[in-house]
Each structure stands twice: as C-alpha cells, then as structure tokens.
Symmetry: C3
Subunit: 350 residues, 3 copies
Amino acid sequence: MEFTVKQIAMLLGGEVDGDDSLVINQLAKIEEGKPGCISFLSNPKYEPHLYTTQASAVIVDRSFTPKMAVPAALIFVDNSYSAFTRLLEEYHQRIAYKRAGIEQPSHLGDDSEVGDQIYRGAFSYIGRNCRIGHNVKIYPQAYIGDNVRIGDNTIIHSGVKILDNSVIGNYCTLHPNVVIGSEGFGFAPQTDGSFKAIPQLGNVILEDFVSIGANTTIDCATMGSTVIRQGAKLDNLIMIAHNVEIGKNTVIAAQTGVSGSTKIGDNCIIGGQVGFAGHLTIANRTKVGAQSGVGKSIKEEGTSLNGSPAFELNDHFRSLAVFRKLPQLEKRIHHVEKHLNNQEQHLNHK
Amino acid sequence: MEFTVKQIAMLLGGEVDGDDSLVINQLAKIEEGKPGCISFLSNPKYEPHLYTTQASAVIVDRSFTPKMAVPAALIFVDNSYSAFTRLLEEYHQRIAYKRAGIEQPSHLGDDSEVGDQIYRGAFSYIGRNCRIGHNVKIYPQAYIGDNVRIGDNTIIHSGVKILDNSVIGNYCTLHPNVVIGSEGFGFAPQTDGSFKAIPQLGNVILEDFVSIGANTTIDCATMGSTVIRQGAKLDNLIMIAHNVEIGKNTVIAAQTGVSGSTKIGDNCIIGGQVGFAGHLTIANRTKVGAQSGVGKSIKEEGTSLNGSPAFELNDHFRSLAVFRKLPQLEKRIHHVEKHLNNQEQHLNHK
Amino acid sequence: MEFTVKQIAMLLGGEVDGDDSLVINQLAKIEEGKPGCISFLSNPKYEPHLYTTQASAVIVDRSFTPKMAVPAALIFVDNSYSAFTRLLEEYHQRIAYKRAGIEQPSHLGDDSEVGDQIYRGAFSYIGRNCRIGHNVKIYPQAYIGDNVRIGDNTIIHSGVKILDNSVIGNYCTLHPNVVIGSEGFGFAPQTDGSFKAIPQLGNVILEDFVSIGANTTIDCATMGSTVIRQGAKLDNLIMIAHNVEIGKNTVIAAQTGVSGSTKIGDNCIIGGQVGFAGHLTIANRTKVGAQSGVGKSIKEEGTSLNGSPAFELNDHFRSLAVFRKLPQLEKRIHHVEKHLNNQEQHLNHK
C-alpha cells in the first residue's frame, strides 16, 4: 500500500511544504522514521527530532513554524495528532485481515441465533438460547454461556469467557482471556468457621462502545447487574467485583480493583493498580493516581485523589514531600529538645 | 417460578404480617424492590428503604419492630440474612441449567477414568492417567494435564488450566481461566548474568470445598506441594507462588500475591492487593488490610495488620493520621526552632 | 527410577561420607526428607535439620564440616545448591512425559509452516502465514494468530493467546493463559467526552530464552514493537503495556505493571506488585522493592529503589522508620511547644 505525500495531504486536508511526490509506505514515530515513512510532530518535546529525522514526511500543526531547515516534506494540518490518528485508522482498515465465516469445529447451542456477517472461529462455543447480533467476531476458543445477548459489531477475542445471562452491547471489544460474569466473591460465614457460597443470581451488563483489556475479570451481581456504562474503557488485569457500576466514558488503567457494590461515576480517570473499597460512591470526573487506595466515597465532582489511603492530591503531595525528609525532621526535633534542655539547665543555674 | 408470600414463610419457618396471598416471582435488594419481588432487611442502615420499598414482601428479624407503616408484607424469621440466602439457594437450584453428558469434540487421554454424571464440555481436554470423580463438571475449553486427580462434585469452569500431577478435592469450584500447577518462578543465576530455570517437580493440592476466582494462578512446588487447605476461598487475579500453603477457611480478596514458601494459617482474612514476602509464617486468624505489604512472620494469632510495610493495625492508623498533617508538623517544628532561636538571642543579649 | 548414593556422587563428581549403597528414589527438602530421599544443605539456616533429617543422603559443600553426627550419607561437592539443581534437571528430563505429534482436531491456517518434532495439541489454533520452528510444543487450546513467527524449542502452554504479527524467539516458555500482542490501551479523547481507540499497528517481539508467567499480558506497540529482550524472566499476572522494552536478563516478579513506552534496562531485578509510570528510562541493574511505584527515570546503574513513590532504598527505609513512630514524634513536638511556652511565660514574668 503506497501513497504519495500529495495524496496523503489531500486525504487530511493539509498543505505540503517540500517534495509532494515522495512515496510513503509506512507509519513511524518521528525518532524512528526512515525513508518511505510518514510521521508527526505534536509534543514540542520531540521537535529536535524534526531536524534530523529520516522520515520522508512529517505532519505538523498549522500553527507550527520550524526553527531551521527540515529534511522531510511537511504537511500542515489543523491538528497533527488527530490527523496522524486518522492515517493510522485508514492504514489499519486496509491491512487488517478480515475474519469471516464459520470455522469448524465450533459449537452453537440449541435455540441460539446469530446475525449476518458473523465470524465464529474454530473451537469457539456458544451455549443455549443466545442472541448474537450482526457483524460480530467470535475468535477461536471463546466461550459464550447460556442466555447471553451480544449486540452488533462487537469483537470477542480468543479465550474470552462470557458466562450465563450476560448482556454485551454494540461496538464492544473484549480482549483475549477476559472473563465476564464469573461468580461474585460472596460467602456466608458458618458457625464452625467455614464459609458457604452465596448464590450469585445477577448478571453483567456492558453497554455500547465498551472496551475490556486482556485477562480482566468482571463478576456478576449477587442480584441485579454489574454494569459497565457506555464508552467506558478498562485496561488489562482489572478486577470488577459484583454489583459494581462503572460510569460513562470512565477510563481505568491496568491492574486496578473495584470491590463489591462500589459505583464509579462518569468521565473518571483511574490510574493503574488502584484499589477501591466496597460500597463507595465516586463522583463524576474524579481522578485517582496510580497505586492509590480509595476508602471513602467522593461527593465532589472533579476531585483529584492520591495515596493509600487516598486523599486530596495536592495535600498528599505535600505530605509525601515531608515524608521524604522525616529523618531530618526527627533530628531537628532532637536538636530542639536538646537545646531546650540546655537552656533549662542554664536558666536553673542562674 | 412463582410462590405466594405464605408459601415462602412456610419454607423459612416465619410468620407473616400483611397480605400473605401476594405472588412473588423475583428476589431483589430492598432499595431496588418492585411488585412481585421479595427482599430482606438485615443491616439497620437500610431500614429507611423499608418504608418506601415497592417490593411485595420483606424478610425481617423477629427482634425487629418497624417504626412506621410498611407497604410490603413482612415475614418475621430468626435471622433475615440467612433466610434470604436460603431463598437464593433454592432459587438458584431451580433456575440453573444443569450441564450434563459429553459434548463433542472433547479429548480424553489414555488410561484416564471419569466418574458418573460427569459433564465434559466441547473442546475440553483431559490428559493421560487422570482420575476424575463423580458429578464433576468440566466446562468447554478447560484443560486437565497428565496424572491429575479430581474429587467428586467439583466444577471446572471454561478455560481453567490444571497442569500435570495436580490434586483437586471434592466440592471445589475453579472459576474461568484459573491456572493450577504452572511452573514456579525459580531461576538459578549463571555467571554470565543470565538465569537458568530450576525444574519445578512438585505439584498443587487443593483440599475439599476450595474456591478459586477467575484468572487466579497457583504455581506448583519446586519439590513437595503448594497446598490450599479445606474451605479456603480465593478471589480473582490472585498469585500463589510455589510451595505456599494457605490454611483452612482462609479468605483472600482479589489481586493479592503470596511469594514462595510462605505459609498462611487457618481462618485468616486477607484484603485485596496485599503482598506477602517469601518464606513467612502467618499465624491463624491474622487479618491483613487491603494493599498491605507483609514482610515479616506473624506469630500471635488474631493479629490485625495494615500498611506497606505492614504493622499492627491501630499503630498504622495512628501513624497515618499524623502523615496527613505532616506539612503542619513541619511548620510547627520550624516555628519552635525560630522561637528558640529568638529566645537564645534574647538571652545572649541580657 | 532408582539410583544408589554412589551413582549420584559419581554423576555430581562428589565424595561420599557414609553408606554409598543406599537407594535413592526421590528428591526432597532437608526438613521434609524421608528414607529414600536425597536432599541438600546450602543455607546455614537449615543446618540443624541436617542432624535430624530422615533423608538417606544429603549433598553438602566441600567447605562444610558437620558439628555432630549426621544420620544420612553425605555427598561433598563444590557447590551443593547447583549440584542439587542439576539432579532436579536430570530427574525432570527422565520423568516428564514428552508431548509429541499432532492431536485432532487442531487448526493450521493457510500458508503456515511448522518445523519438525512439533507438538500441536487438540483444539490448538494456528492462523495464516505463520512460521513455527522445530521442536516447538503448542499445548491444547493455545491460539496463534496470523503472521506469527516462533523460533525453535519454544513451549506454548495451554490457553496462551499470541496475536497477529508477534515474533517469539528460541527456547522461550509461555505459561498458561499468557496473552501476547493484545491491543495497547490507547484512546484519543473526543470533544463529547467519549474516547476513540487509536489503532495499534505494532507488534510484540520476544527474544530468545524469555519466560512469561501464567496470565501475564503483553500489549502490542502502537507503532514499532514492544520488546522483551534475551533471557528476561517475567512472573505471573504481569502487565506490560504498549511500546515497553524489558532489558536482557531482567527479572520481574508477579503482578507488576509497566506503563506505555517505559524502557527497563538489562539485569534489573523488579519485585512483585511494582508499578512503573509511562515514558521512563530505567538504568541497567536497577533493583526495585516489592509494591514500589516508580515515577521517575533512573539514570545511575545499580540503583536500589523502594516505596510508592519510590526513592533510594536506604533513604526510604530511614523515612519508614520514622513513619512508624510519627505519633511519638507529634507528642515530642507538642511537649517542646508546651515547654517553650512555659519558659516564655516564665521569662516574661521575670
């Protein structure tokens, strides 16, 4: 797949400064650019690479003025980052091999229906009484239990396990080995010290445009539903416990865990390896730093939290700054005490 | 499946206050109750919902007296929580589709034997020389290696991988994508800076009534066995390293990691995202707060720990309380120093 | 498989003190030794067990002199630990059942080629246009996408998912349910608050002798490659984000996460549950303590870090020591203030 710089500029609605007949056949980062590559400059930190890159062309912002000669052809656009992202998408659509059809052996249970243009990979399993939409891709070795609903244009990668009664929306992506609808961790203590599993009768609902990262697990609700709302994006190895709700367009980084019945609001940004206690309510647009431990509900929208246990970000940073010099602090106290003692003795002697 | 309030009261040995002819067809939380639902009130925190719930019936403790009129029929029992749990179980048993029989294709290796009433799902794999008990459910795409022993009434969910020589007890549940018996992380450093894998010849033993959450991994022992004792319950995404032992009825929340050769006692309660160093011995009934890092053995039974590194819970809380006001503390020290300095000068001038 | 003590001593180039005709049929830890077992003593901490062990033979260092009578036969060698490791390897090679051949059903896509002596387990899947080397073991239910390259002598365990365009070296081991090449977590924020996935066009490269633990996930690069260099060893449940590089012979313990574009050097030792922020560069031979959070690049080789946020190990230990006595520190400040106040009043009264 090859294009000239001119063709790409037209696609992006940009203007070329330099040789627009150069042929482009690859995308690359500006610091890794080679002849035939197109790259982009958005973050000013990378500007020095612009003057040395071997890439044939670089997309830049219209507002940008080079400080010296640039070896590559420049394409000026309104927003270089989104223009490059658009190129990535075009490229991805053209190169990606489109899986389609039904590979054998694969299993389709009684009373289950699948839509048009479906891909069902070898060794994939669909249980009973499922309703699967159009243009759904079910990769090899994926498992779909009984009574599952899946919308249109959703991708179920290899090794994903979707348990009974789950409901998955349209345009969702479930990455490899994701588990949806496993039994929640609920046990009733018995008088002899043992525990008895509490039946988990609820399900999991993923609304539209939800993305779930590899090896993430989402438990079903005890009753009712564990819900991941529209547009939420979850990274890899995350744990979502029973009856949790994750709000619209909330983004959660890898290895975070959310305990039972906690409700996280819309448009939140949660770092990696964060832990949430159970039964909390977290306001919209809350931001939580990586490795934080959130033990209390957050009522005010737009709060930034950090630390374990987490409190307001700036306060936490201030405490951390002093934590680092605690040994000196202790010495200062010791010094003051000694001083005071000397003074005391001095005064007493007077 | 429908029952009247009267029928449910009889099942639970309770007395009805209200219309006992109402028809119940669903279970719900008290705050989500709708007509046709039965709910329960155990935690006093939820009492306000009792006076507004749309549920048709609510199970309450015999010791409870409503403070005002209740729209729902009440069923009085000794323990509302366990009564409701019992209802959940009844309900679960009646609705759950019972998997049975052998779906094809599935693999059964040479010299392996399986008991009666087994379910072997499509694309499940059983290696050589295995002994699998009665009424075991092996879901699609589960893998069982060679020389594996599995007791009666155990459930192996989809995608579970049980490696060679593992021993699984009766009434265990292994949730989807659990890995049992993977090679322990043991490497001998070589003189050139590289590492050579130390063969891991041991196995994993799960005693009876053990539950292992989705995507949790339990490594086999270098020699001997990694052991999960009777009734222990492990949540999702937990890491159990080689030669670890987890005691009877110990409960571990999600994403916790236990390093090699550590022995955790009976009836411990371990929070989520906790880390244990290797070669520790943790006394019975130890409680560890979420995100703690346990670096030392615990000798006294019933100890409560918190923090990373973890120490006694109340001491940790006291240190945390001061941590939050460290910036003020620093100011106070600064103030004292200044003050002292002024005094000094004042005294010297006298 | 049985050997006499004499035969084992010859294999290891050691000398026997005791009955060299005893028969050995098992390996065991010194504290768990029984008749017929051989064990070893390397760590002096375990020396007391030497005088009480029931093992038939114990391997010890040539430099070691027992302090009292030893019931077992002793085999003296240069390095008891490596000698024992060698025995483990011998034992492992003799007992391990060698998987070989092609089990059916299994899937091999168009234009894919596999080498000699391959094992392809039942329900394993190889996509299109793959090149798989000699003596590769692909266990049941493993998935290999399109355009994947795998070197010789590599083991792909059950449930491993290797996505399109990944490149795996020679002598690698991928433990069960590992995910290689899943889409990186990259989303472009849209003006309406939603996020759009940025196509991830890169791949993952694992060089030779790499080991990846169960349920670990390694995302593909946005462009270019996520790279795990020769001899690196990753434990279970680790998250490696897009465009990360892990250096030669670097060892990472379980449940650690590395954010996008971070480069970790050679011969680093990273504890469990550590988090790395994105876009960092970590020098060779860096050591990071368990549960640390690394937020800054490390320039000096051989640095030891600890804490969240992480700083120099010894400094962190000193701060932690004071953290534990913060409540006393606060009291001391309070005491000083009071004292100073009294003095003040005293002086004013003079």
